[in-house]
Structure formats: C-alpha cells, structure tokens
C-alpha cells in the first residue's frame, strides 16, 4: 500500500501536492434514517442515489465520491491549491462548485452545479450529498438546514 499522510484513508492531494486528510467509511452510519428522506426533500428536488457511506458532500464535490473530507480547513486548502476562483451567481456554469458558508465563516456544505441559472433569480441547480440520506439534485437554495444565505460559487480557471 502506498504511504499515507496522517489521517488519510486513501491518497488524496490538492493540485499543489498537499495531502488532504480523509475518511472512507464502509458501513452506513444510520441505516434507520432512510425512511425519513421523503419527509424533508422538496417536491421539485430529485433523489439521485441512496446513501453511500463512502463519501460526504465534500467528498462528492472535491474527491469524486471516493472518500469523506471532514475538516473545512481542507476545503479551504483545496480552493486555494486547486486555483478555484469565485464566480458571480448569474455567471455560474455546470461543473462549478457551490460552497455554503455558515454565519461564523465555517464551511457547512458543498455541491456541484449541474445547470445554468435562469433569470430572474439566477439560482442554479446543484447535485449534493445530504448526509445520511444520499445524493439530491436540487435548487441550490432548496436544501434543509444548510446555510443557504451565503452560498459562494467557484470555478477552476486555467
């Protein structure tokens, strides 16, 4: 097995080669949560997959669904090292990423943009992982309890 950095279940580096600690679970942490999915999902949102314990929202967005990235400091590191730049909401394109910032500045959630936002509100649809529930395609602002008041969009620009 190749050498791992501390707290790395799989090898994962930023574009600049800084190791990204990660956790790759194999068991669903809360199997009894599944039936609750329908109670909180918006009727215009689409359930995409059942829950997969291997990755979380950040693992979906920044690690190709291969593992969980737990610490939001690692997300910040990826944004910098991978040369993400902020994108105005009206200019967002599919493939960009959405990062949800809590009031205290911490990163609460992340998602991949899957549609171009339409006027007048310019809110794109995104694909994100909802904790113990699974992947959902939804309007960026139609997700429960995440910090929808401060969603920032980013893109890697050559």
């Amino acid at each position: 097995m190749p050498p791992r950095a501390t707290d790395q279940d799989i090898l994962l580096d930023t574009a600049l080669g800084n190791p990204v600690p990660n956790v790759q679970d194999t068991q669903i942490g809360m199997p009894m949560a599944g039936p609750y999915f329908d109670s909180i999902i918006h009727h215009l949102s689409v359930k995409r997959t059942p829950p997969d314990p291997r990755y979380n929202c950040h693992g979906l967005t920044f690690a190709s669904r291969r593992t969980k990235i737990i610490d939001d400091a690692q997300i910040r590191q990826i944004l910098v090292d991978d040369r993400y730049v902020a994108v105005e909401r009206a200019l967002v394109l599919p493939g960009d990423v959405a990062v949800y910032f809590a009031d205290d500045g911490s990163i609460e959630h992340s998602a991949i943009v899957v549609s171009t936002p339409s006027p007048p509100l310019h809110i794109p649809r995104v694909c994100s992982k909802w904790g113990f529930l699974g992947e959902v395609v939804h309007l960026a602002t139609e997700c429960p309890l995440y910090a929808i008041g401060n969603i920032q969009y980013f893109r890697v620009v050559p």
Binding site: M32, Y36, D72, A86, L91, A102, E108
Partner: protein
C-alpha cells in the same frame, strides 16, 4: 427523566439526517436553545444516565440516536472533560459522529474559520481570460 419537546426533536432530527460532518452536528445542536437550557439545568450525572439509557435501548431507533446526540452535545457544552469519558459507554459506537465530537475539547475548538474570498479571485465574465481576474487586495 430528561425529555425534549417533539418539535425540537424534529428539527434536530433533520439536522442529523443531513449532517455531512461532525462539526455540522455540533454547531446545529449547540445552537438549540433547548439543548443550551438542558446543559445548564441538568447535572453531569443526569445527562450521563440519560445518555446511557438511550444507548442501551433496543431497538436503537433513529429517534433514540437523535436524543443521544442531544444529550452528548449538552454534556459537551456543560463539561467537555466529563463528556470525553462518554466514549466508554456501552453502545456508544452507534453514534457515528460520537468519537469525533468527543475528540473536541470544546465546541469552539472544532469550528474552522475560513478567510474565504480574500484569497480568491472573482470571475467577472465567462469570456474574460484568467489574466483579468481581480484578486481582492492585490
């Protein structure tokens, strides 16, 4: 006996369902006024006993998991050092975020503040080359 109003448990349930990280659980549960009040009103012993009862219950339902996290966060708010001993309770391994929560000495130590856009540029237009990116503070 410690109880939490159903409407509060419902909100906490949703928080737990969509939690991707332990810091999210800690932040959302800590923000609950009910859990803050519980932390102030109940003793460490009462919280521990209640947590032990929940963890040992069979079947260990989702509602019991929510209650367990509520009690654990109340303990963390009240006494991080006492909370740190909860990992030895029977059934604690059912709380997937439990060890991560206990690893924190205090809730504040876990939150990472992000100096977000100050270090990043802004895309002003889809057609502009990268050389025109505006770097705040540059």
């Amino acid at each position: 006996m410690i109880s939490i109003p159903p409407h509060v448990l419902e909100v906490l349930s949703q928080c737990l369902l969509v939690a991707n990280t332990p810091s999210f659980v800690l932040r959302k549960f800590s923000e609950s006024l009910t859990i803050q009040s519980l932390s102030e009103a109940a003793s460490v012993g009462d919280l521990r006993d209640a947590l032990e009862t929940e963890l040992c219950a069979r079947p260990f339902t989702f509602d019991r998991a929510v209650m367990s996290y509520a009690l654990l966060v109340a303990l963390l708010l009240k006494s991080p050092s006492d909370a740190a001993t909860m990992g030895s309770l029977e059934g604690f391994s059912q709380l997937v975020f439990g060890p991560s929560l206990l690893a924190l000495r205090s809730p504040r130590s876990f939150t990472t503040h992000v100096d977000r856009p100050a270090i990043l540029g802004n895309v002003q237009s889809q057609s502009e080359p990268a050389s025109t990116l505006i770097i705040p503070g540059a």
